[in-house]
Assembly symmetry: C2
Homo-oligomer: 217 residues x 2
């Protein structure tokens, strides 16, 4: 059993990319240094929280001045493993899959979609956004031979688990799942779910409350 020295809380991992977003903008504006106070202001967060998050990356700042922006960007991107490019397979060349294939920023996040898979013969053996689309039956074999570690699932919900099983059999270690389904995979497989309906629920519930309050004055 591998003992993690210091588990990084997920909220930290989710905030760090937001820091990067504004750090890159500042860098483009020619700013050289930034304090955690400034970052916190921009994102409406607590300065102590920002400092603690940054601490996880191992970088040290300087009292009074703060952090050198290029150094900080480098530290966060390395910590998030963005400077290490991973090849990925995408299953489900529908409209969402196509949108992801065309998303230009993934490259800078270290994600490289090398092939897409679909069960529709009308789609396979062509290119979408310069990425080859292959029949889903070949996913497992190709994943094994190409040593792919990341799988992206954008198939309809009923097929998601079957696709996940193919990915696992092909040696894929981490699945980015866009289907609104609980995937049943071995414990050691990393699953990151994009639950659009969860976010929408939060939004609709809050909106419903606000509109109700307005009616009541």
């Amino acid at each position: 059993m591998t003992k993690e020295i210091k588990q990084v809380p997920e909220p930290v991992l989710r905030r760090l990319p937001r820091y990067l977003q504004i750090l890159h903008r500042m860098k483009e504006d020619g700013i050289r240094e930034v304090s955690s106070t400034k970052i916190a202001d921009e994102l409406s967060l607590d300065p102590t929280q920002v400092r603690k998050d940054i601490e996880f990356t191992g970088i040290v700042g300087r009292p009074k001045t703060g952090f050198l922006i290029p150094e900080l960007i480098q530290a966060i991107e390395s910590f998030l493993n963005w400077d290490n490019i991973n090849d990925a397979f995408l299953a489900g060349a529908g409209s969402l899959g196509t949108a992801l294939m065309g998303y230009p920023n993934f490259k800078s996040y270290g994600l490289n979609i090398v092939a897409a898979f679909d069960n529709n013969p009308g789609k396979t053996d062509g290119l979408i956004r310069d990425i080859p689309v292959i029949h889903i039956d070949k996913l497992t074999d190709l994943a094994q031979r190409m040593h792919i570690h990341i799988g992206i699932i954008t198939v309809p919900a009923p097929q998601a688990n079957a696709v996940a099983a193919m990915m696992v059999e092909g040696g894929i270690k981490a699945i980015w799942n866009f289907a609104p389904v609980q995937l049943r995979v071995p414990e050691d497989i990393i699953v990151e779910n994009v639950l659009l309906h969860a976010g929408l629920s939060v939004l609709k519930r809050k909106l419903g409350q606000v509109l109700k309050d307005q009616l009541q004055g």
Copy 2:
């Protein structure tokens, strides 16, 4: 200042749709009753947590048997405001916007995209997925006149804040933001961010750890 009787924690709002997912499947399978233990098992959650979450919806179960599935579904959907359909505007008729316009499930979540907006004249004045695409300049005026409350932002990051401003001016109260940008909007506007790079960061970081551990044995 409106005092909320009982603020619902966001984690609760994010778990409830997952319950719905398996409840619908069970209902289709002809199952009539379910216990919180069963739901917890299916989703690898704590039974007490499930019971507490369900309690928020106001429904009462019966000892030994649990909850009647149709009643439970109804209670959760009503609590999440899904049975109340909201019209929405979508800004940015690119590939992601197109994917969302074609997403069939939104209707059952109570979201109805009535129009899309874009600044590309080649896209406007046509239909995408049966939804009219209109020039972005008309968004504010139309939102006002149609009393739209929800805006969906799928434009590129640099334009997101300008679009958000138009939406707010048009009276939109809640924004579902897919652009990786911190929106600057008035405090009373509800913003729900879909941060794809955050999820990807968690995935890549965990994968990096696992692969490193493997090398070290």
